[in-house]
Symmetry: D2
Subunit: 457 residues, 4 copies
């Protein structure tokens, strides 16, 4: 398959085509359409043509997840011939020898910019942290590919699918929005896409394995396949300005990272991104300092308050179940268009968490009273830069916009239909509208967990 992609480039090549190729050789990314439906508050995923470039992100420092990633990669290669597997470079190096076919990665020092240009679909294998890491790759971009997330071991709150379901989950997502003819569903290689034990899949809803655009093209489409449900998670747009009013977002590269990667530029040509995006929250805290942080907070240009606290969180509804929850914030459904201001251990009896309209402009300004200290800024739990007196952090909700093709913006997460989500919904009869959020509250956050000796009433 090497020739398909036009040469090896600078990547090391092993004998049996255990090759790592450069993503730049791949076609540019597709932007799927996210369309409203009548029966659900979730959107449905429609590929304009089948996705081709899939980024596989296994959890860091977890050898057993690498094993599963290899299994998953082989499955995709065998069953979806048109697809290219992309890995982060440190993963690619670790893993490529186990694949008897070439895989793709980014050139050193260029990852986020390249990925944003090429990736059609992201699959994560790990916990919430891996999903956050995936989103952070697209942090400087307005468009994020759909994220299909598999939990490995313990369930996370953002994770949607169990890894055991990967065959069906991937197929459903790959096929989403495509009309297929019945005869294609019984093609021989289709069956091989399903292991014997995946017994709950009926032949009648099997996908065509490969390039369904041609199928669509020649008019054989006869039935609409089930579409994947998408939750567009709102992000926050964050920009940091220095005392002279200059945007210094280029200094927002991660300073704490467990990934063995260098600090890549976020945009292709080394430009300063106007905004970085957070999917959980942005926080400023006292970091290693023993003394309280002092921050002035403004909303839409009006002074709100001076916060004297361990720190301040500006959180999305998605992040309302993360740090903000720990700090005492309410739980906000991800479809509530809003942003949260939640203080961390404020030295006040009366600093109640706030929920503001999504498009509020929030500014955090380092007060002179901090006496020369610098305070670290984190995005989604990753330390980025430290702000000094006079600097400001400007935050605003990212707007979702409606186009003729559907909605744009946010992080498109592939949601597992509630009716098939075992162990969460607790046997509740799911309807289309269910976004699995209620189930997660109960099973993962132990929301309103009952008192008593037997764990029940």
């Amino acid at each position: 398959r090497q020739d398909v992609h036009g040469g090896v480039g600078f990547f090391s090549v092993s004998a049996t085509r255990r090759t790592i190729l450069d993503v730049s050789t791949l076609p540019d990314s597709l932007v799927p359409h996210y369309q409203q439906t009548k029966t659900s508050s979730l959107l449905s995923l429609h590929w304009p043509q089948p996705p081709r470039n899939v980024l596989l992100m296994p959890k860091l420092h977890a050898p057993h997840v690498i094993v599963s990633a290899v299994e998953f990669g082989k499955h995709i290669y065998s069953n979806y011939p048109g697809l290219h597997l992309v890995f982060e470079s440190h993963v690619a190096n670790e893993i490529h020898e186990q694949f008897p076919f070439p895989i793709y990665t980014t050139a050193p020092g260029n990852a986020p910019a390249q990925l944003a240009k090429k990736i059609d679909l992201v699959t994560t294998m790990g916990g919430d942290g891996t999903i956050l890491r995936a989103a952070s790759l697209f942090s400087a971009h307005n468009t994020v590919p759909p994220i299909l997330s598999f939990s490995m071991g313990t369930l996370g709150f953002l994770g949607e699918w169990k890894f055991e379901e990967y065959k069906r989950a991937f197929r459903e997502c790959y096929m989403s929005g495509c009309s297929v003819s019945t005869e294609d569903l019984v093609a021989p290689h289709t069956l091989s896409a399903l292991s014997a034990d995946d017994s709950d899949v009926q032949p009648s809803d099997l996908p065509p394995p490969g390039e369904w655009t041609s199928v669509q093209g020649n008019g054989k489409c006869m039935g609409l396949s089930r579409t994947s449900k998408i939750l567009l998670r709102n992000r926050l747009r964050v920009a940091i300005y220095d005392e002279d009013g200059r945007n210094i977002n280029d200094s927002l590269l991660p300073t704490s990272t467990e990934a063995p990667e260098p600090r890549h530029p976020l945009l292709e040509n080394g430009q300063t991104p106007s905004y970085l995006h957070a999917i959980n929250e942005i926080s400023i805290d006292r970091g290693p300092h023993p003394h309280l942080a002092i921050l002035d907070i403004y909303i839409n240009g009006h002074f709100l308050t001076e916060a004297v606290a361990d720190g301040i969180l500006i959180s999305t509804p998605t992040g309302s179940t993360a740090y903000s929850l720990s700090a005492g914030g309410s739980i906000v459904h991800p479809l509530v268009k809003s942003l949260l201001i939640t203080p961390i251990s404020p030295r006040s009896l009366s600093f109640r968490p706030l929920v503001l309209p999504l498009r509020s402009k929030v500014v955090l300004k380092l007060s002179k009273r901090n006496r020369g200290r610098e305070l670290p800024v984190s995005i989604d739990g990753k330390r980025r830069v430290s702000v000094k007196i006079g600097m400001e952090v400007r935050v605003e909700g990212e707007k979702l916009s409606r186009t003729a093709d559907g909605w744009r913006g946010g992080v498109p997460c592939v949601i597992r239909a509630s009716s098939s989500r075992g162990g969460r919904g607790g046997g509740i009869e799911g309807d289309e509208d269910d976004d699995s959020w209620v189930g997660g509250l109960n099973s993962l956050l132990k929301f309103n967990y009952p008192f008593g000796g037997d764990g029940g009433h």
Copy 2:
């Protein structure tokens, strides 16, 4: 002026035309248009023609407010000749002798239905409770007239205007959205609309006193007057169903009321309203019972949790600063389209308040475990009915809808522009966008009030 309104009807008439007339003789109510603007998140008020029927609601049991209401009424009568003053019947009886002109009220036993049909504009004089009472008159209706609220004495959180400003405030609201010619602004009776001490009003922004439609009609309109800013406060739609699935909203009439009125039917012909509307919240609590209430909560048909608590609140963002705040809920900006579920003293360590999308369908169901007790249901702090085992309370956010003429639904509250709101914003430079909410947090709720010996930093 009696002849204008066509007779006295069944109302008592005193010698010197101190008459109470029936609202049914008045023209039907106007529905103003609420239009979006570029510079503000608030809407602007546009009267299709000048308002004619104004309901004046003074606070209950407050003689000094009655005195002010008389002053206000006389001012309106003298300066806005086309306007009719309407009072609740117990107020009308108490007050009419002080007016040398007829006033209007409803027939006994018919108030809410009649008022909904006739009132163009409501003015309240009192605290938050009076505003809630005003809204409750329109609780069974989809359309609520704009509410112009004056605080008398202590400021409330919902109240917007100080009574001292009543002349300017009323004029601004009355004129809102009208284009007027400059010459009209210096007409003699215009000046009489302003007392000598209202020194901050310049002749150039004076309103024409009366029927500005005619003015508009003959083409003299030359400059747009300033429009009043409107906040459409979302309400909740509440319906109660008995064990047999029958809507029993007709039993939702107030059972606790300090007003000397009988329990009026809510709809004109005695129909059961499909919904009642709450502007703050609906609550179910243990009332006089010593034992904890037990309620099953469902969201969009899914079982959420069994609440064992003093009670449960389903609140609007408007109500987030009322009971829900006391019960530990977050403060939610009224423009965040959402509803809150806040438990009251829950017997649980893990029942964190929730913020859900506005259109979520929440059902509260009385569990069998309550052993035969009835639990009182309150809407905006007024006890209504008691629910028994098997009954359900269904709650949903009221949808605001967009029409060609602007937005519909909610409770249209006339907001005081921040720049002129002394004592709240604390000298902050206001912009158009300000809805005075941040100022209210600080000055009224003492949000994040600083520690220390001198009340400051």
Copy 3:
């Protein structure tokens, strides 16, 4: 045995000696000694002579508990010949036909006074509510007999023993503090006290069935038996004063009760008790009123604050896991000598719960701003009286005092040794010091219950 107690009195007698006798015929109650030990923060129970009059309190309205109470009663009668079984009168009437021996109860209208005079030991069978009810019988008295509590079905937080353990638990408590000779331990009737399935009891720690004082007397005592561990739960002393400074505690009789009993006088001769005692808390709340309660709070004569709230709780550490917990209070260990002031849904952002020294004098005074309303006062969840404007509720911690014989005061609860408390401590190696409180936090209150999909990490 009837002759022993000198006649039947006014009680109904059935043919086969299924008799109900008057407690007044019984010997006066013993006061055991509660002594400090080196190895435990709990006290140890020492009977001066074997207990003779045992009050058995089954849960109300629970037929299956009555069945167990009969079983328990028969066991005691057969194995502890010197003991008299006492029941509340409504229980006695319901149950006496099932006993082939006489039981005891109080004369109508005299229960608490009589019981306080006669009862050596109380055993409850039910949940926390039954323990509270037991304590409330001694609410007007300074001395409460030890309470041995059995949970029936679901565990409560105050309940200590599972009913299945009743034989061993009762024996241990009965024998506590007695020195017995080894030969007594193998007396034949001793063995009959234990059913065959009570397999974990070894002959060597069997008790002598009956009157161990004689045993002690004749010098055969050779080994100290294990003593029962006692937690003296501090109570609150409550007194209500009217506007003229008169103690009106006589009006504090329960107004809400599910027990089929009349309202008994609390003291023998109808005197007004100077204090009533609460074991959980005293609360004043808005009861059926829709408006907020307004209460002035004083500490040691100093004005603390004006509370505007649903209500106010003054709670013991014991009660810190009851209502106060629901209202947001901290969890306070019962050995911390303190009282808690916890507001219920206060209309304030800054009313944080307080923990004060046990002997603080707290006064709650009904503010004039309540406008004529009466507010119900509850003790341990039972509505008692309503306070009006001008009245005050005075509360103070009950002092435990040290005498030559050990400690006095509080409610002596027989605590189950941690090492044998299955299902709570979770396999932790117990030491003498453990009062089972930590175990209860985890197993019953689900304290810091871990997040995650599998109920663990």
Copy 4:
């Protein structure tokens, strides 16, 4: 006066006796008696003989406080001839030229050990931080001298006296517990101790300026002077053990300090102190790490819970108004013998703060799940050491013990009598029992600060 102390030693000497002498030349410290009184929950201070060595601690980095310290020092020198003024070495160096008499300080590298041996009385001039710093000097010792604290500018919660009151405050403290004859009270130099404007001091309660023991000795004592009121603030005893069970408290020296001092050994001979003491709290937190800290908590040898959080606080009641308050803890009166466990932003819905008996043994153990990170430990807000996996922090309340002479242990803080504490108690009629705590809640913490437009009710 130089000869009195036997030479200059290694200290720099300026011409006009602007000398710094070594504290080692001073007599060893006195331990005053703290005795219970009938009318107060506070203790009264009794000097066995007049204090001689006073440590003056001005706030760091605050030039205006240095100015006041000089004024204060001169006042003491002029009016209390027997007294020696001691300063920390960096203060002594900065300040000594302004005194026309010798002052004392410690040898470099020996401060805490020397001070503990010599100081009779500490006076702080600054905020709560300065008091904490004073207490930390005695952190390795069981006995702390009484602390007389002056607030400079803004009031702190621990600070008791306004600096303007320094003459009376110092005199009252100096004289406390001494019986003096009337004639001594009119000695001439006594009057000079009071400035003309200190008009509220009557001659009859003036102190003898100098050595009142001699006065006591020759039988002239005729009236008891007013005694200073003492609050013994309980401390926590903290010890850190490494994986091998070795006490590593010697590594607990401050790592973050704003004082220009080197890290002094805490004990005289360089011994490892068995315990360090905290007056507010000990905390372990995630410090600069982005990930949550994971700590196992044990109480009295029993596993309580695994905390997953920003950190954990073990706090005294004194510290309940400091960090623990910010983290959501209850406010606990300093006389409640207890310690608090308060989580900082725990990733749990159900980790409610706990209040435990003072003598509970709490162990915090770094879980293996922290993956190799070290977590900083802070005592009273000062970073000390970092703990690694396997290490434990053992915490226990310091016991106050009763001796024939009164109470021992804790930090003896000189409390300002409530009746004379302007601006806090708000005109409340004070009694002896008042420890000014209620006043501080209201005026400093803005406890239950009322809502509303006018900052009042």
